[in-house]
Structure formats: C-alpha cells, structure tokens
Amino acid sequence: MKVSMTVNGQALEADVEPRWLLVHVLRDQFGLTGTNIGCDTSQCGACTVLMNDRAVKACTVLAVQADGAEILTIEGLKQDGQYHPVQQAFWDEHGLQCGFCTPGMIMTAIDLIKHEAQPNYAAIRHGIEGNLCRCTGYENIVRAIRQAADKM
C-alpha cells in the first residue's frame, strides 16, 4: 500500500507492505541510512527519529502508522551548513566514539531539551535511558547535552 510522509521537509512516498517498519522504509526506500538499527526489541534507541515533533523509535513504528506524518531524521538537522547545537555539542564534548548510537542519541536529546529547557545531569541521565551507548560510558554524552541546552 502507498504511504506518504514529509521527511526532513521533503514530501516522499513509498509502496509498502503493512508489516514494514518505519526504520526499514527510511533506510531502504528513502536511503536515509543515518538512522541505525541496533536491536530488535526497542531497547537501544539507535533508530530514534522525531515523528510529528516527538521522539519515537522507528523500529517500533509501522511505516503505515507514519502515513501523513512529519519525520525528522539526523540527516535533516544541519541547516545552511550549520550544525544543530546538539550535533555541535556532541562533537565539542567528545560525546561519541564509534558513532553508531549517535544519531538516535542526538534525536532523543533534542526531544529532551524541548521538554525541559535546562535539565540537570540526573534529568539528562534519566531522559536518555531509552538510548544505549556501549563506547562512551555516557559521561561525555551527558556533558554534551548539558552544553547544548545552554545554547538552545
């Protein structure tokens, strides 16, 4: 069946099976491979995108559920050659190593700061509980999100 959605400001359509996951459509149909798949049980959060301005795990959304939705992925953050403040902060604070969790982590952080403009460290740690990182031990991710909150 046909679905249409606005992805990073661009109207896109795909012919999908009802069982297809949003993350597979983003990656395989639309070529937006910045959104990664890290698990199959919705634990890791690597596939987090914004759907209608809310963070969702794109492995837990069927593509048909996203019909008519506005989707923002990691590829849509950089504007006019400028990194989003959260992207910049992850770079500045060494908030990534292998980078695989990073797109999902950044999308979650944007959602977190949207809901709580000045989160403290504990709130940040709690707020990113749905996103797993195996490299950084989270310390620099927390610092990066804190730094970004100051600039947003």
Partner: protein, 792 residues
C-alpha cells in the same frame, strides 16, 4: 607546534554526527540479495535431515543452501592455539553440515530479494534433529560422565596449560603465616557493540575476484584467514573493506562462519549478497567473553607481605573455537598474575574447556581483567585476614619505582619485563582525590545510622601493545603469525600528507591521533594530514586493533615512517642549501643551517622539490614515500589506581555508586580527550560486569539472557560520573613513550566495585560474592545468617 598531547577534536566526527557515515549495513549495491541464517535451537544435536523445498518455493527466494553445499570450503582456522602444549582443536564450518555444539550455529542459509522474504523462508525450512546431551558449566564438563562434545577432546578439554613454578609456590604457601583459599567466578559477558555484525560480498567473474565489506577490527587478518585457510584461493583474490565500524570490543577481530558463507554465496548466485545480523543473532552467534571458574590460594606473612599465589582456572571456550580463543585465558591471563606486586612464587594452571555454549574469545581486556580480578580480590582477602588496611597491603607489595624494568617471578611473563612504573604515585594521587581518612570516618558514622558505605580499591597493571612477534608467535606463545604493525606516509607535491595504516579504528579515533603523530613529527598543520585505513587495497598489511596496540605498535609505525621522511627531507635540503646534512636543523617544519634560521627551507618547499625531481642528490629517488613495519621489542605496561565508593541499601540490597575515581598511567598521551573517553567507556563496561551483566544459560544450553530485554547493558542512569586523573610514566619501549589506553578502564574497574560492595557488607560478615552483584544477591547475602538484615 606540539600537537602531540593536545585535545584536538576528532576529525571523524562530522560524518558521524550528521548520519553521513556508512556502516556495512548502509551499503546498497545494484542487484543485491539478502541472506538470512537458520540457527540451531538445540545446544547439542545431530542434523538427521533438512528439507528446504518449501522455502525454495516461496516467491522472492533466490536460493536455499545447507552445509552440504559448502563442503568445498575448509573449516575455519584457529589462529591462536595455546603455546607449548597440545591443543585439541575444533573449529566451525561456515554452515554446519552434520552437528551443532551450541545454540545459534547456522545450519542453512536463505538468499532472497529482500530481508523480510529471507526471514519468512527460514520458517519454511524443516530440520529433523537428534538432540544430544548438553553440558554448559566448564568445571562439570571435565568431570566423569559429562556429555562428550568432540571426539578429539576427552573430558571436553581443549588444552591444559600452566605457567610459573608449582613446587616452589606450594612450598611458599606452606611456609606462610596465613593462606586464604577462595573459589571465584568471572561470569560470562556478551560484548554488545551497538552495531551488530554485517557483511556484503560481491563477486567479479571477469577477474575471479571478490570484494567483501565486513564490520571488522582486523580486515587484513580476516582476508588472510578467509582466503588462504578457508577458501583455498590466493589472498590477492579478495579485497576486504571495513567501512565505518560501530564498536567491537574484541568481538569483531575474528573470521566468522557467516562472512565465509556470504562471500561464497556471492559467487554461487552471481549477485552481491548482504547479511546484517539481528541483535538476537548477535547474542547467540557472536563471541562472548570471560567465563572463568577459578580456585585461588594466596599466602602472606603477618606483616602483609605476599608469599605466593596459586591459581587454578577452568576457562569456558564454548562449543567450538573462535579464531583466537585458546590464547586468551592462557597467555593473556596467566602471565599477568603478578600484577603490580612482587610475588615471590606464582603458579597458574588453566584448563580450556568445551561446553555447549556460544564461542568465547577476547572481550575488552581479554584475560587481563580476569587476572586483575583474581589479584585485587585476593589483596582484600589478605587485608581482611590480617586486619590491615587494603591500601597498605597493596603498597607493601608494590614493585618499587626503582626496580624497573622488572621481571615477574618464576618466569611467568615468559622472558618479558615490565617496562616502567610508579605505582605508589598513582595510588597517592587517587587517595588524595578520595580523602581517604575522612571517608573512613564518614563510613563509621554512617554505619551507626544503618547506612552502609563501602570503598573498594583496584591497583592494577595491564599488558598493552601486544607484540613482539617472536614472543607471541609460534616459537613462544602460539599465536599463528606476527604482531607487528605497518604504516605508509606520503607527502605530496602540495605538501599534503596521506597516511595509510594497517591498523584500524572502530571508534577510537585513529584518523585524529595518527594525524597528530605525523603533524608533530613533521611540524605541519594537522589539517594537512589525512589518515586512510580499513581497506586491504591501498593500505599495508596490518594485524588490526585489539589489545590496546594501535598506539603503541601502529602509532609507532606511523611515527617511524614520518621520521624517515624527515631524514630524507634533511638530505634533500642539504643539497638545496649546498650544506652538509650534519650542519642542518629540522624545527617546526623547516630545515636550516644551525645558527642561520634565515636559510630555512620549509618542508613543503622540500617536498615540492622531491616530487618534481628536477634536482636531487646523487642516488636519491624522487618523492617522499616511506613505509615502516614496526615490531616492538616488548609490550607496554600501563597501571593505576581505581577507587569506587558505594552505598548499599540495607532494605533492597541495591548498590549505588557514590564516587568513581580513576588515576591511570598510560604513558605519554597523544590526545587527552580521546584517552579520557576510552577510560570512561572502559570503566562503564567494568562496572557493568560488577553490578549488572551476565550471560545465563539454562541446563538445555538455551541462552536465557538472549536479547537486550534480558541482558543488562547499562543505561546512563545506571552509571556514575567518573573522576579521572593521571600520572605520566613514559614507556621506554617506544620512541613515543605511549603505553595504551583502550582497556585499562575495564581491567581496573570490576574489582574496585566488587571490593567496595564487600567493604560495605563487612558488618554482615559477607566475605565473597560472585558477580553480578544484583540487589537480590546482595540482599540475600545480608540475610544469609538469619540476620534479617542485621549486622552479624
């Protein structure tokens, strides 16, 4: 200049923060088909028959294959049999034709037009199984009457290995004032890199060549094993590329059955084939780590002097061998058992055991965390037994700073020596951060209020920069090849530099740190250097990234190649300046006659002359292009002190980490920001072993902790902030003075946390607990003596 030692931001990050980086599963090739593997639900079983007819008939299926279709391929090789002893080796085939020895082994593979169809087809394959008896515990597997897994391995023993002096250690223990005996378990862990495994292969019939993309820590080694050992074709027939790699922690060093299968399939079906592992597959089919059962005996005199250490370990290697499995619990474990201490006599006996569980191989630290756990727990037992402070027992037995290079007793390090160290200095610095005396007062006061605080120490060493070839290789420790590293540095006509390295990054930041080494050596802007790696075409052969060896071995190769360019530049500058080369200085990217800086030629001017070749000294070839193959004379030995402060909730048994202090000495530091990041991540994995993680098999050999829902990869809220500091004791082994930082955090942290919890539980008379220290386990221990949570 001096870009060495500066926290410059990582040059690989722009592609990673924008989603532009391409991991293996991101690749799309025209005509690509997708593979999916049918995996055994049984831990030990014979395959009586397989019927693939229904699967083949499913629309969209390109082909279905079983083990019988791949009998022209050899079993995978074992590249590290334990040194100096008989090994009973058993390795997997790419798809098992007759029998499985752990759950998750593949017995059939489907290739289809898309991944959904491939998965659908798996459900249509019918296998007639004959289940066989199962054993999962390493110690029980060696006992009489245990199910036998491999014909060539009686009592399921892969090998028996030892180091040190058994008789001298027994005598030393017998003469000791006190001896503490304890059995401890270092539980099985699952690496869980965030990117699971993946492989894409494309066959080019015109050339009879393959291109294989795989997420790897060692693409050159994978290619060598895939071609020369499994496929029986020249190494040159495969180009192996590891694009962006999403973490590895050891689990991506190896040649895996699926990579062989996907490569073979690309020729069989004449189309590119992709396989991307699911997380559930990753749990059962990618390597695990640790899994030791160890009997420890440590002797001491009344003043706290350690007299001897006797260790007997059963190491679980799983149902079949991964690439370097036997070497991890032998060389990288037993040989480290002196730690930072002068121990007069040591003996270690290791039994490597087959069980019906997933393959066990190197996981971050690989042998060294297990050795450190033995020693650092044992130091606390001695302190408790003698009623001494745990820091004093450690300090009393430290190898003094003036005794380096130090050779551990009883030849346990097989001819190598610790390069440099100052263990007191790191301990002092960490204790000052803690404010130890004040903490003990606070702890005593808290106990009177029913609040249980604890502090744990871990004063560790590790062995990094794993090499030298002659030591680790077949004449010595049994590693099947060499362990040097390589680098090529070229300075182009424009003065821009390309570094290619056989080393490989899976998150560490080689593109930044290797560029810093070259920029510093040549005195040029770091932005003028690019670093290329991870592709067997265009990079010199290298053994890859593991064992914290990229800096201390690979980085030194880069440094030496840059030095050679510098030397050649001086000779060319002498020609240009009509001066004697001995009268020239090289400083900040300029060559000039000593005392006459105005004569200077910049390295860029000299490189231009080298590149055009119009006027070169007699016998000099054009261009700056230098390669180094560096085989170090010794490993390197970082060290430090980690301190963990916890509070254990008496009502729930839950442990909260209040402070985590790490003072590490990794030698000279190329990029402090990156080193700190490595240490943070290492601590997180070590803390996770102490408190949260553990692979659990049931008696049937089913992995109960087989998904991210069931295995406790920690979240941000489960981990503390880290207070890091360092001392700097350069390594004399290499000209950069670097030691290695990738594994120190994992090696040091686990016992620090466990010691802290047991310190908190001291009032309850709890002397030992095996990891992970879950709230339930801790609560039960507090209530074990009918104490109802009251102090005993």
């Amino acid at each position: 200049m001096g870009v060495l030692g500066q926290s410059i931001k990582r040059r690989e990050d722009p592609r990673l923060i924008t989603g532009e980086a391409k991991y293996t599963d991101d690749l799309q090739l025209p005509g690509m088909a997708y593979a999916a593997f049918l995996r055994s639900p049984f831990a030990h079983a014979k395959i009586k028959s397989i019927n693939t007819d229904k699967a083949k008939a499913l629309p969209g299926v390109v082909g279905v294959f079983t083990g019988k279709d791949f009998m022209d391929l050899n079993p995978l090789p074992c590249a590290w049999a334990a040194g100096g002893v008989k090994n009973n080796l058993n390795t997997p085939r790419c798809v098992e034709p007759e029998r499985v020895t752990h759950t998750g082994m593949s017995v059939a593979v489907v290739v289809a037009e898309d991944r959904y169809t491939a998965e659908d087809a798996l459900a249509l394959i019918e296998v007639d199984w004959e289940p066989l008896p199962v054993v999962t515990d390493a110690k029980k597997a060696t006992e009489a009457g245990a199910p036998q897994i491999h014909e060539n391995a009686p009592n399921n023993i892969e090998c028996e290995w030892e180091c040190g002096d058994a008789a001298a250690t027994d005598a030393a223990l017998a003469a000791s004032d006190v001896v503490v005996k304890q059995t401890i378990v270092n539980q099985r862990l699952i690496p869980n890199s965030m990117e699971t495994r993946a492989c894409v292969a494309q066959y080019n019939p015109a050339q009879d060549e393959y291109t294989v993309w795989s997420t790897s820590q060692a693409p050159h080694v994978q290619r060598l094993l895939l071609t020369a050992f499994v496929m029986g074709i020249p190494e040159t027939k495969v180009r192996m590329i590891s694009p962006q790699v999403g973490g590895g922690f050891g689990s991506k060093i190896y040649i895996y059955p699926e990579y062989v299968t996907v490569t073979a399939l690309s020729k069989k079906i004449g189309r590119p084939v992709k396989w991307a592992e699911t997380r559930r597959e990753n749990y059962v089919a990618t390597t695990h780590g640790r899994d030791h059962i160890t009997d420890v005996e440590i002797g001491a005199n009344k003043d706290g002097t350690i007299t001897g250490l006797k260790v007997k370990t059963y190491a679980n290697l799983g149902g079949i061998l991964s690439t370097i499995a036997p070497g991890i619990p032998t060389t990288l474990y037993g040989r480290l058992l002196s730690g930072p201490y002068k121990i007069p006599h040591i003996h270690c006996h290791v039994t490597n055991v087959y069980t019906n569980t997933a393959m066990v191989d190197a996981y971050r630290g690989a042998g060294r965390p297990e050795a450190t756990y033995v020693l650092e727990r044992a130091m606390d037992w001695v302190a408790n037994e003698l009623n001494m402070d745990p820091t004093e027992v450690r300090r009393k037995n430290f190898i003094p700073a003036n005794e380096f290079p130090y050779t551990p007793a009883d030849n346990i390090l097989a001819g190598l020596t610790y390069d440099s160290g100052n263990y007191d200095k790191a301990l002092d610095k960490a204790l000052a951060m803690l404010n130890y005396a004040e903490f003990r007062e606070e702890q005593a006061a808290a106990r009177t209020k029913g609040k249980y605080l604890g502090v744990g120490f871990s004063t560790y060493i590790e062995l990094c920069g794993v090499a030298p070839s002659a030591w680790v290789g077949l004449p010595g420790q049994g590693w099947g090849a060499g362990l040097w590293e390589s680098a090529n540095v070229r300075m182009h006509l424009t003065g821009k530099v390309v570094v290619t390295t056989g080393s490989q990054s899976h998150g560490q930041g080689h593109e930044t740190t290797m560029a810093q080494i070259v920029a510093d050596e040549l005195g040029i802007p770091v932005d003028d250097v690019i670093v290329q790696h991870s592709d067997t075409q265009g990079t010199p052969f290298g053994y890859g990234s593991y064992g914290s060896r990229s800096g201390a071995v690979g980085g030194v190769a880069v440094h030496r190649a840059a030095q050679r360019i510098k030397e050649k530049a001086k000779r060319l500058a002498a020609h240009m300046l009509e001066a004697n080369v001995d009268d020239l200085m090289y400083e900040d990217g300029k060559v000039f006659v000593k005392g006459a800086p105005a004569t200077a030629k910049t390295i860029q001017e000299i490189a231009l002359q080298a590149a055009v070749g119009y006027s070169l000294p007699e016998g000099m070839e054009p261009f700056f292009d230098e390669t180094s193959y560096y085989d170090p004379p010794n490993c390197t030995y970082p060290f430090g002190t980690h301190i963990c402060v916890v509070e254990v909730d008496a009502h729930t048994g839950k442990t909260k980490i209040l402070r985590y202090i790490a003072c590490d000495d990794v030698g000279n530091v190329i990029n402090p920001m990156i080193v700190d990041g490595q240490i943070h991540g290492g601590i997180a994995q070590g803390v996770a072993q102490a408190l949260y993680e553990g692979a659990v098999y049931d008696d049937n050999g089913t992995l109960v902790s087989g998904s991210m829902m069931d295995y406790a990869v920690p979240t941000a809220a489960m981990l503390p902030s880290y207070e890091t500091a360092r001392t700097v004791t350069p390594s004399p082994v290499n000209p950069l003075g670097v030691k290695g930082a990738g594994e120190t955090g994992t090696i040091a942290s686990t016992p620090a946390v466990v010691n802290a919890v047991l310190d908190a539980l001291k009032p309850f008379g709890v002397k030992n607990l095996d990891m992970p220290l879950t709230p339930e386990k801790v609560w039960r221990a507090m209530h074990a003596n009918g104490g109802n949570g009251k102090e005993g």
